[in-house]
């Protein structure tokens, strides 16, 4: 019965590791996209002046 705790912890750690990394990649993707959009907006504003 005691073993169940180690098994649950192991499988939970695996899931958290994979999902957490995927979540972090999504956040990095959003940040890079917003930066590109902001720069494109600035460039457009700069050329229209």
């Amino acid at each position: 019965m005691h073993d169940v705790g180690y098994i649950i912890a192991g499988y939970a750690a695996t899931a958290v590791g994979i999902v957490g990394y995927r979540w972090r990649l999504a956040a990095r993707s959003r940040r890079a996209t917003s930066l590109i959009r902001a720069a494109a907006g600035r460039r457009a504003a700069g050329t229209s002046r």
């Binding site: 073993d3 098994i7 899931a15 994979i18 890079a32 930066l35 590109i36 902001a38 720069a39 600035r42």
Partner: protein, 258 residues
């Protein structure tokens, strides 16, 4: 080289990423059900041996990821193409994740079986060294200012650091070790029950699909971050507050030569 480039381009498409993502979710679910509810417990270790089906694939993926870093680093030094540097850093990140998981899962397995969370056993020590090497690889990318120099020295570390992978793998046969020896990759027949071996092989395949998925996503994020860095450099100064710059361990030149 051409075949690898075509495979990378195909895996990088949004459709392929979606398929890989769903295949990973389905595969992990089936592997989890098989490992936790279908396969019988180990004759000597009992239920705790079920950690085998995540510990071994994690180690396999860590070794495989560092193998990709090694190959991509050689390709970068030969061709100086940004794409290979991006492949190397993407694979190193994923390798570090799975190396951490390998150590955590091994520790969780070791506590009930060996009676300790950690011991300076050759296999455990060489795995910890391996993790430190690739953490150093990723750290170097953050501190180096010149993108070309960063890619060059990262490639050198990616090649030299790989030396520890075969040492880690063979450590259980070269030295007296608390860690069990090879049960699958050994001469003659594997000393593991057929149902356990089948589940382990299935988990290895599923984890490899997960690696393919994470690589495809990480490569896309790398391209975006490189584009963002080059856009920030080339665009005029902002009049209002711009979003925080991307903290990237990205690739030289910022261009996408995909």
């Amino acid at each position: 080289m051409k075949i690898v480039q075509t495979a990378l381009a195909k895996a990088g498409s949004r459709g392929a990423q979606r398929i890989l993502g769903w295949a990973s979710v389905a595969g992990l679910t089936v592997a989890g059900v098989l490992a936790l509810f279908v396969v019988p417990p180990d004759a000597t270790q009992g239920d705790v041996a079920r950690l085998l089906y995540v510990h071994v694939p994690s180690a396999w993926l860590a070794f495989g990821s560092f193998g990709v870093v090694f190959l991509a680093s050689i390709a970068y030094l030969r061709t100086k193409r940004t794409r290979w540097d991006r492949v190397a850093v993407s694979s190193a990140e994923i390798g570090v994740l799975f190396c951490v998981l390998t150590i955590v899962l091994g520790s969780l397995w070791g506590r009930p079986v060996w009676g300790t969370w950690w011991t300076w056993d050759p296999r455990l020590t060489t795995t910890a060294v391996l993790l430190l090497i690739y953490i150093g690889y990723l750290t170097l990318r953050r501190v180096s200012e010149s993108p070309t120099r960063r890619a060059h020295w990262s490639a050198v570390i990616g090649i030299v650091g790989f030396v520890d992978v075969p040492i880690t793998h063979e450590s259980v046969t070269w030295w007296r070790s608390l860690h069990q020896g090879p049960t699958v990759l050994q001469l003659g027949t594997p000393t593991i029950a057929p149902s356990m071996l089948a589940t382990l092989m299935f988990s290895l395949v599923v984890f490899t699909v997960v690696y393919g998925y994470l690589m495809a996503v990480r490569m896309r994020v790398g391209r975006l971050e490189d584009r963002a860095s080059s856009t920030v450099v080339s665009s005029p100064a902002p009049r209002t507050r711009a979003p925080r710059p991307v903290a990237s361990v990205g690739t030289p030149g910022g261009g996408d030569d995909a």
